[in-house]
């Protein structure tokens, strides 16, 4: 992608708001008991999703984690179908079978969110291997938190991806917490990017709350991947403004830490960046309002969508109708 124009930055500003407002609705409706399960919000981490996913082609594939709403939306999946899935509705992306932690939009290259920390890394490497084997230029991107670095699968996958020079972009959203436990309490390794060197993987640690920084770093990494330079590990230092899941009281975080919310907010920071470039406040407000209407309308339609038919519960375990007649 060439240098973003002012119009591109405004589109990215809208994309940040889209995620923020979407997840605000998730929070509201989860608290109201309209959403089953326990959704995880990426509030505060939106710049990572937007700065990377907006640069992907539809054919580039994306794997995300339990905190994946933002990535899916930033890749361009339909707001209504995504929200309907989180509500567990029939016309949700996965017909109500996946939910918040298992969003898949295959036609848009979203090959899946996984609820098992580090479970998505090797899948992304496999998708990259398929692209390599078939001579396609597409890349594979996987998002995970710093908590995933405690899993063996993280290290196994880094080794394999480097060895086979797979076109996979490993994006660590380092928000300083593995669920409720701070990074200091779960590893002596301060920066996740430190793990890249032994495997010979190119890496960078960046300010993940600053969209222009994320965009520039991702652009370089993606170009290198498409050239066949092998995998890249991009560590984005970010800030989880919400709890681990909706309803987490976050008693393990200090008031001082949480008070930094405003200063770290990626939306506020991009707003300042745009104002410095001459965009006026009214236009920014208008973008916010337009996005709010867009999200609210989509959520309204999703809420009106039909619930899945219980009679279809066994559909999609295997390919129909091959095994329909032989249970188990």
């Amino acid at each position: 992608m060439t240098e973003p124009t002012l119009a591109d930055w405004k589109a990215m500003y809208a994309a940040l708001w889209r995620i923020r407002l979407f997840e605000g609705q998730v929070q509201r409706l989860a608290a109201a008991g309209e959403i089953p399960g326990f959704p995880h919000l990426s509030t505060g981490q939106e710049a990572v999703a937007v700065g990377i996913c907006m640069q992907l082609a539809r054919e580039d594939v994306l794997f995300t984690s339990h905190r994946g709403h933002g990535h899916v939306l930033a890749k361009g999946s339909d707001i209504e179908a995504t929200f309907a899935e989180i509500l567990g509705r029939q016309n949700g992306l996965c017909r109500g079978r996946g939910g918040s932690m298992h969003l898949v939009d295959a036609a848009n290259g979203v090959l899946g969110a996984t609820g098992v920390v580090a479970g998505n890394l090797a899948l992304a490497a496999g998708a990259a291997w398929a692209a390599q084997a078939q001579g396609r230029q597409n890349i594979s991107v996987v998002f995970f938190g710093d908590g995933a670095t405690g899993a063996g699968a993280f290290h196994e996958t880094l080794n394999l991806a480097a060895l086979w020079r797979l076109p996979v972009l490993f994006v660590c959203e380092n928000n300083g917490y593995a669920e409720f436990t701070s990074r200091e309490e779960h590893s002596n390794v301060k920066q996740v990017s430190s793990f890249a060197a032994p495997y010979g993987i190119a890496t960078q640690t960046i300010d993940g709350n600053d969209l222009p920084t994320v965009f520039a770093a991702a652009r370089g990494a993606i170009e290198a991947l498409r050239r066949g330079a092998g995998p890249y590990l991009l560590e984005c230092m970010t800030f989880r403004m919400a709890g681990h899941y909706v309803g987490d009281a976050q008693q393990y975080r200090s008031k001082e830490e949480l008070a930094a919310v405003h200063e770290k907010c990626p939306i506020e920071r991009l707003k300042r960046y745009l104002v410095e470039r001459g965009v006026n406040q009214e236009e920014l407000d208008a973008i916010g309002d337009r996005t709010r209407n867009e999200v609210l309308r989509a959520v309204e339609r999703a809420l009106a969508a039909p619930r899945p038919d219980p009679a279809t519960v066994l559909e999609c375990v295997y390919r129909a109708p091959v095994f329909a007649a032989i249970p188990g």
């Binding site: 594939v61 794997f63 949700g92 992306l93 996965c94 017909r95 109500g96 079978r97 996946g98 298992h102 898949v104 939009d105 295959a106 036609a107 090959l111 899946g112 996984t114 609820g115 098992v116 479970g119 890394l121 090797a122 899948l123 992304a124 490497a125 496999g126 998708a127 990259a128 291997w129 398929a130 692209a131 084997a133 078939q134 594979s140 063996g152 699968a153 196994e156 996958t157 080794n159 394999l160 060895l163 559909e315 999609c316 375990v317 295997y318 390919r319 091959v322 095994f323 032989i326 249970p327 188990g328």
Partner: protein, 329 residues
């Protein structure tokens, strides 16, 4: 011409590699031929990108194969011993098996995981297990366990072409077994069992190497005037209950035999289904033969003492027939 189980597997893989460019073999040492020589020569013939060695990283290579299967490849992954599939379990159970369902049918995982199981020759506690029951418990997986070389040839090809995640369990004791291959025979469908020997007095349900023990037992029983029908299940998921029902409705007696430990095994599932679906047909309780509840020991005397064999099957059938304890095998 007779072929060993290993030679026939190699031929099936060779032919599928030639037939479909999406098929790729990967696993620890597979380019070098694998621990048992199944893939010997295939990297030379099909190239090192189609037949590829991996690090000893079962979690990652199972994920890699699954991710590639989502994106157009048809990987055949070798997990050297089923005991090591414990390291693949997160992916197999949480990702591979559930992808089609969790995505609402958007995605499929056309993946075959070839692995090797069973006890023989002092491989001891961590290289001898029969862990198939863990996998039949997971919706979304197909589980295949062939009993002869010719069966393995057809079932492996069918598995590769199926378009579903298949766990293909080979028994190490069968690897040297030789058999003629009927050229041009139709491939067996996945999910259909076969009658390995027809009989009228009792149905013996088995799979993998235990089918050979069941056939030995049936021969001994025939000498004593008891006609045993042997069902080779071929696939454990899907389970072909129709064939079991037809046989038990004829013989009114059933024995299930496997090398895996009896507790919580495949036999428990089948016995429960026979009990629920065929209760009125039964003239005797359904019995199971399986391994005692212990790890596989190392010393040959101990290994022999623990593993079930044809003598155990004969004893169990005599009990079912009401002839118990008259002879010691």
């Amino acid at each position: 011409m007779q072929h060993t189980f290993i030679e026939i597997l190699r031929r099936a893989l060779d032919e599928e590699l030639a037939r479909d460019p999406a098929v790729h073999l990967l696993g620890e040492d597979v380019a070098a031929g694998g621990a048992f020589g199944v893939t010997r020569g295939l990297a030379q013939k099909h190239g090192s990108t189609r037949v590829r060695n991996t690090p000893i990283s079962e979690a990652a290579i199972t994920g890699l194969a699954t991710g590639a299967a989502l994106c157009g490849l048809k990987p055949v992954l070798e997990i050297m011993f089923i005991d090591f599939a414990t390291l693949s379990m997160d992916c197999l159970v949480n990702q591979t098996a559930k992808y089609r369902y969790m995505s609402g049918g958007q995605l499929a995982v056309p993946l075959v995981v070839r692995t090797q199981a069973g006890a023989a020759g002092g491989a001891a506690a961590q290289h001898s297990q029969s862990l198939e029951a863990w996998f039949i418990h997971v919706p979304g997986l197909i589980v295949v366990a062939p009993s002869t070389p010719a069966e393995a040839y057809g079932l492996l090809k069918s598995a590769i072409r199926l378009g579903e995640p298949v766990l293909f369990i080979e028994h190490k004791r069968l690897y040297t077994m030789k058999e003629e291959l009927a050229e041009g025979a139709e491939l067996p469908p996945i999910g259909r069992s076969r009658i390995a020997r027809a009989g009228t007095d009792v149905t013996v349900i088995a799979y993998s190497a235990m089918v050979q023990s069941a056939l030995e037992a049936a021969q001994k029983l025939a000498d004593a005037g008891i006609s045993a029908e042997v069902i080779d299940l071929r696939t454990l998921v899907p389970l072909d209950m129709a064939t079991i029902a037809a046989s038990v409705s004829k013989t009114h007696r059933a024995l299930i035999a496997h090398e895996a430990v009896r507790n919580g095994g495949v036999g428990a599932e089948i016995a429960a289904r026979i009990g629920a679906e065929l209760f009125d047909e039964l003239d005797a309780p359904v019995l199971r033969v399986g391994c005692g509840f212990a790890p596989i020991p190392f010393a040959p005397e101990l290994e022999r003492a623990l593993l079930p064999g044809s003598a155990d099957l004969v004893r169990a059938v005599r009990r079912i027939m009401g002839l118990a304890d008259k002879t010691r095998e």
